[in-house]
Amino acid sequence: MQDYLLLLIGTVFVNNIVMSKILGLCPFMGVSRKLETSLGLGAATAFVLTLASGASHIIDTYLLGPDLSYLRTLSFIVTIAAIVGFTEMFIKKTSPVLFRVLGIYLPLITTNCAVLGIPLLTVQEGHNFVESLLFGLGGALGFTLVLILFAAMRERLEAADVPLPFRGTSIAMITAGLMSLAFMGFSGLIK
């Protein structure tokens, strides 16, 4: 039980997918302009990621096995694409504005390196099924956490007198860098 907890905390904070692995930067920069939207994308990503790591684990263990491990990337991508497709339709039905706001980023979850990275990592590290789910969930929670923290910061930043050359994405990049710096404080916490 303690191991599971450590794994979850580790993936959320210490080995945060965005801040320490520097994966998933595309939606991190793109969909963090508004708190509400980033909450939506975070939730969608969490949903996709948890399902994807679980599904990948099943596929890898029961379908591919050691013989077909060369099919991992291919089959994972197909699975993720299907899950994203499903999520897309679901969001389009339930929240058209969120759908529109997420825009290109929703289908881009498919190619979000974090979403492919986590299933691959979890398989590589030989996690069991529960661990895979937790790893996916932890990665997604970590992604969502920094995404909404970042969005709240950017909402405030939006009204600041940032010097003209640094306005917009560049100050956001600097902020992301400083966030990453702060997350370095976690280094060494969980080996």
Partner: protein
């Protein structure tokens, strides 16, 4: 159009608040000079010079009124906080780099005073400790333990010319926090570590007195109602509770609450850095949450992380969270049941 004509009689205008902050830092600086030698004065001077220099430069580049903004003293406050959290007698370029990151990157890229998201001094500290871990952990040894206490002239020499004349071993030592970490990793049991003279009474020889002086300065600020009680109390309480819990869990591996409170930057952080209103959460509930988070993280990073002190990282991490905390802790408005904006 009417301004609000009565806003002329405020107790402290913003520049005066900054002056009061610097006043409240004086006892700790005095104690530092007395216990560690006059080296800290060199650091304060250099940091102030560099910070004001960078401030001037950026203001010029941004076409903003120089005198008006320089007179607000905020660059000086940042410089002093940075100098106080950096090791004494560090090479001069470390101060220069620190001042650059504090004033230019952390403050002015975000639009200047009042608009920065991260505490400038802590950004500078974090950049330096990540980039120059060796220089950033060579602290001046307490006067009573050191083989030699550099004079002011020697301190200048050390800062500008490097360590040619004096052997570093003669005047530097690890901080108690740093020392404790390495000792515990090599398997020395806790009581034996704490018995060493470096650790003084509770939080490190010399350092504990300086911490007491920070507490005194903080009490002054509280008395003048320049800061509210929420952040220092929550911060220190969280440090104490987390440290006590860890010690209770495994006494052989963890120092107690008193040690954590009196060592490192805990007191400085609690009263002078976490209370920076620009980067902290600002609602009463939010302040408690923010400071408690920072205190808790401080001890966790100290106990488990790679860095000797966790105050800077803990505060930066909570700086990240502050805007979100504010959004979700909006107080109840008159005549409503409350709710978030």
């Amino acid at each position: 159009m009417t301004g609000s004509p009565y806003n002329l009689h405020v107790r402290y205008a913003t520049p005066q608040i900054m002056r009061q902050l610097m006043l409240a830092l004086l006892p700790a600086i005095g104690a530092h000079v007395w216990l560690f030698g006059p080296g800290i004065l060199v650091g304060l001077l250099l940091c102030s010079l560099f910070a004001v220099g960078f401030e001037t430069l950026v203001l010029l580049m941004r076409g903003q009124p120089l005198g008006f903004y320089l007179r607000d003293n905020t660059a000086l406050v940042t410089a002093w906080l940075l100098a106080l959290s950096m090791p004494t007698l560090a090479p001069w370029w470390l101060y220069l780099l620190g001042a650059f990151f504090a004033i230019v990157v952390a403050k002015h890229l975000y639009g200047g005073l009042g608009q920065n998201l991260f505490n400038p001094a802590m950004v500078a500290y974090a950049v330096l400790i990540v980039s120059f871990p060796i220089q950033m952990t060579q602290w001046a040894a307490p006067a009573q333990l050191a083989a030699h206490v550099p004079s002011l002239a020697e301190a200048f020499d050390l800062v500008f010319a490097g360590q040619g004349a004096l052997s570093p071993d003669a005047y530097t030592s690890a901080t108690p926090l740093d020392h404790l970490k390495t000792q515990l990793r090599t398997g020395t049991p806790m009581p034996k570590v704490m018995g060493q003279p470096l650790y003084g009474q509770v939080g490190g020889s010399g350092g504990e007195v300086v911490a007491l002086m920070f507490l005194l300065g903080g009490a002054y600020l509280l008395g003048r109602r320049l800061i509210t009680w929420h952040i220092p109390v929550a911060f220190l309480a969280a440090v104490a509770v987390t440290a006590s819990l860890l010690q209770w869990h495994d006494p052989a591996q963890h120092a107690g609450a008193l040690f954590h409170l009196a060592s490192g930057g805990a007191m400085l952080g609690a009263f002078f850095i976490a209370t920076d209103p620009v980067t902290a959460a600002s609602t009463p509930k939010g302040k408690l949450l923010y400071a408690a988070g920072a205190g808790c993280l401080t001890v966790i990073i100290r106990a488990f992380g790679n860095f000797p002190d966790g105050v800077a990282f803990a505060i930066l991490l909570m700086n990240i969270a502050a805007p979100l905390i504010d959004v979700y802790t909006q107080p109840r408005v008159f005549g409503t049941g409350g709710g978030k904006p």
